[in-house]
Structure formats: C-alpha cells, structure tokens
C-alpha cells in the first residue's frame, strides 16, 4: 500500500495539481479546502503518513491546524509539512517535519514528499 498524504490547500487549481502530482509520484492523496476539513477527515479514521498544510487558509490556517494536530495525542505523531512562500519563517517553525516552498512546483512535489517521509 502506498503512503497516504493529506493536503489542505484552499486554491482549487493548486489542490488538483498537488493531488495529481502526488498520484503521479505513486502516493495516495486526499485534498481539503482548509485545516478544519482535514481534521474532520482524521476524526473519521484516516491515518495518513504525512500531512501537508498550506500556511494561509480560510477558517483554519496551516499553523493553527498544526498546533491542534500536535496537541492531540492521536495525531501528534503524524509528520506535518507546511507549504508556504515564506520559507524562512517555515524553516524556523517548531515541530514541523519540513516545508515545501511556494509557488508549488509539481515536478518536485513527489521528491519533496519522499525526502520528508524518509527523514520523518
């Protein structure tokens, strides 16, 4: 079974591109409009190998979603990656497994995820 990646990103085009790029790289991917919907999916039993969060999203943004994930014992061990153009801020953000720079490059997304999964 290939690794399951959950992605929260509010832009529908980026959602589709990320999902297809991850699929092309051999991963199973599910995308959500914001962090709240991703957390809802976890409550229904999804056990992802990695969570990718856009930094800025309506309703529940990336850092807030990350904080909730880490505060919950049932999800705190899932590696989380932040996706943002502010790579410097992301690299200093505590507790994340890595960050993916924006603009998203679909040709590199699979490799980024693989590297992060291997080191997580």
């Amino acid at each position: 079974m290939s690794a399951l990646i959950l992605v929260a990103e509010d832009d529908p085009d980026i959602q589709l591109i990320a999902r297809l790029a991850l699929k092309k790289a051999g991963y199973r991917a599910e995308v959500f409009d914001n962090g709240r919907l991703l957390l809802d999916r976890l409550r229904t039993g999804a056990r992802p190998d990695l969570i990718v969060l856009d930094w800025m999203m309506p309703e529940l943004d990336g850092p807030s979603t990350h904080a909730l994930l880490k505060a919950d014992a049932s999800t705190s061990d899932i590696p989380v990656v932040l996706m943002t153009a502010a790579s410097e801020a992301a690299s200093r953000f505590p507790g994340v497994a890595g960050w993916i720079g924006k603009p998203l490059d679909p040709t590199k997304l699979g490799d980024c995820v693989r590297i992060i999964l291997e080191s997580a």
Binding site: D13, I17, A85, P106
Partner: protein
C-alpha cells in the same frame, strides 16, 4: 512505506490539469487584479486592507508561479510580505498591481506562438468579438489579426445585431458572462434575426460544461479561449451535422466562401476549445 511509480496516463492527466489551470489563470487574471485594486482603494484607501484583497494577493502569489508566471508570483509575494510587515502604503501597493499587469501582459505576448510573426494578409473576412474584458478583447483581437482576419470589437452585446449586420461579420465570438445581454441571450437574438442567423457563433468561456454550451445553442460548442493559440481560427463554423458514425464528418467550412477556413497548423477549433465532436453535433442539431 514506498511510493509506486506513476503511469503515463497520470503524466497526461497532470499536464492537462496544468494547462487548464494556466488557461483559467489567464482568463481570471484581470478580475483578480481588479479585486485587489478595489480592495486597496476601498473607503478612500484608508484603514486596513480588506481580507478579500489579502486573500486575492495570497492566491495570486501561490498560483501564478505554479502555472508559469513566476514574475507575477514574485511581485504578489512581495506585496503579501509588505502587507504582513506593514511596510508599504496603498499607492505603493497599487503601483505593484500595475506592474504585475505589465509583467503578465509581457509574458502572455511572449507565450503566443506566433506573437513575433508578421500578421498574414487580411482575408477580407471580419470577425465580431464581443467581450466585456478588455484584456480578453485584446488577446483575441491580436490572435485573429495574426491569423489574417479583420476584427470588430464590442464591449457589450447591446448592439451586436446591428454591428454584425453592418460589418457583415463572417463569425461572431461571444463571451458568455457579460453584464446586460449575456452571450447566451445574444446568441438567441442573432439566431432570431434572419439577416445574421446563419453567421457562425463561438462562445468564449472558461466554463466548458456541456450545459453551458447547450444553453446558448451556438453553432459551435462553447470552449475556453485558448491562450497561446496565435493562429487560431474560427474553423468549422456552422457545421451541418452528419450521423456520428460517419467517419468522414468534417466541419463543412470550405463550401462557404464567407466562412473562415481552418488554419492547417492550428487544428480544428473544437479540439483547441476542448469541445467534443459529439457536443458540436448536438448543438448544431439544436440550431439547424
């Protein structure tokens, strides 16, 4: 846990998604800039920048780079950073929007495959373009002129019948979403007027859903305006449908001297516009 290997079909799927995302971005860019601009000038330009404008800048920064406009993305990212640190005033942000528009326009000009080609000699055929978006009008006009057509533009459809009659247009390109008379209504009005009822109509729309196409009952199926189609021509026109099983079914354009011919390298418009032959058949049937 390992990743498997991607199949060729997924390559195509991703490439198609990228292409369509880029097309949607091009079609929506002007509106996105307008939204940011109106947010920056709201309430006299005082007070905090509205969330809507911030979100629009953020989305622009994220998407532009992914779909091939890195310079636009860079400017939008700088704007986002300046908003975050409150290091730019409204006039600086408005100037950044203007420069983003310029950079975008340059990128589009370069991406038109025939942008540097000398326009072909005019065919004498005139195409009427009705679109409320000045950027789209400019793009379409440019592409048609490169293809050798004379172009008449209208920003609204309220005089479309009189104009189509007056300029004796060989085809009419209608934006679907327009204030006042929208593309669907304009199409019906044209079809109801005997003097212009046989002029082929093409819809220009980012929504390629079949319902959308059928709603207008155009001669050709609706399609997205294809950015980069510098020598795109309104091929086919009012196709007389043959049974779908007939492998020889063609556009039928050549028999009508008033109708523009397809440019050999450009391919049939229904392919470029993402409309299926079946949809074309259905729609042609509706209006025949």
């Amino acid at each position: 846990m390992n990743a498997g290997s991607g199949a060729g079909g997924e390559d195509d799927e991703l490439a198609a998604a990228m292409r369509e995302a880029r097309e949607r971005f091009v079609a929506s860019f002007s509106g996105r800039c307008d939204e940011i601009q109106s947010g920056l000038t709201a309430e006299g330009g005082d007070g905090p920048v509205p969330d809507g404008a911030r979100q629009a800048i953020h989305r622009l920064a994220g998407l532009a780079g992914t779909v091939g406009f890195p310079e636009v993305s860079r400017i939008a990212s700088e704007m986002e950073g300046a908003l975050f640190t409150a290091t730019a005033n409204r006039s600086q942000l408005l100037a950044a929007v203007a420069s983003m528009r310029e950079v975008f326009q340059r990128a589009i000009d370069v991406s038109l495959p025939n942008a540097r080609m000398t326009p072909k000699a005019a065919t004498g055929q005139r195409v009427l373009v009705v679109d409320d978006d000045p950027e789209q009008r400019r793009l379409i006009t440019r592409a048609l002129e490169i293809g050798g057509y004379n172009v008449t533009v209208l920003p609204l459809a309220d005089t479309v019948i009189e104009t189509a009659e007056r300029v004796r247009s060989a085809a009419v390109l209608l934006d679907v979403m327009m204030p006042g008379i929208n593309g669907h209504l304009a199409c019906r009005l044209l079809k109801a007027k005997p003097s212009v009822a046989d002029v082929p109509i093409l819809f220009v729309s980012s929504n390629s859903a079949l319902d959308e196409r059928l709603a207008g009952r155009g001669d050709l199926a609706a399609g997205r305006w294809p950015p980069g189609a510098g020598c795109w021509r309104p091929a086919g026109g009012r196709a007389r449908p043959r049974p779908r099983s007939d492998p020889t079914r063609q556009s039928g354009a050549a028999s009508d001297p008033r109708r523009p011919r397809a440019a050999g390298s450009a391919g049939p418009v229904r392919r470029r516009c993402g409309a299926s032959p079946a949809a074309q058949y259905s729609i042609s049937k509706e209006v025949s």
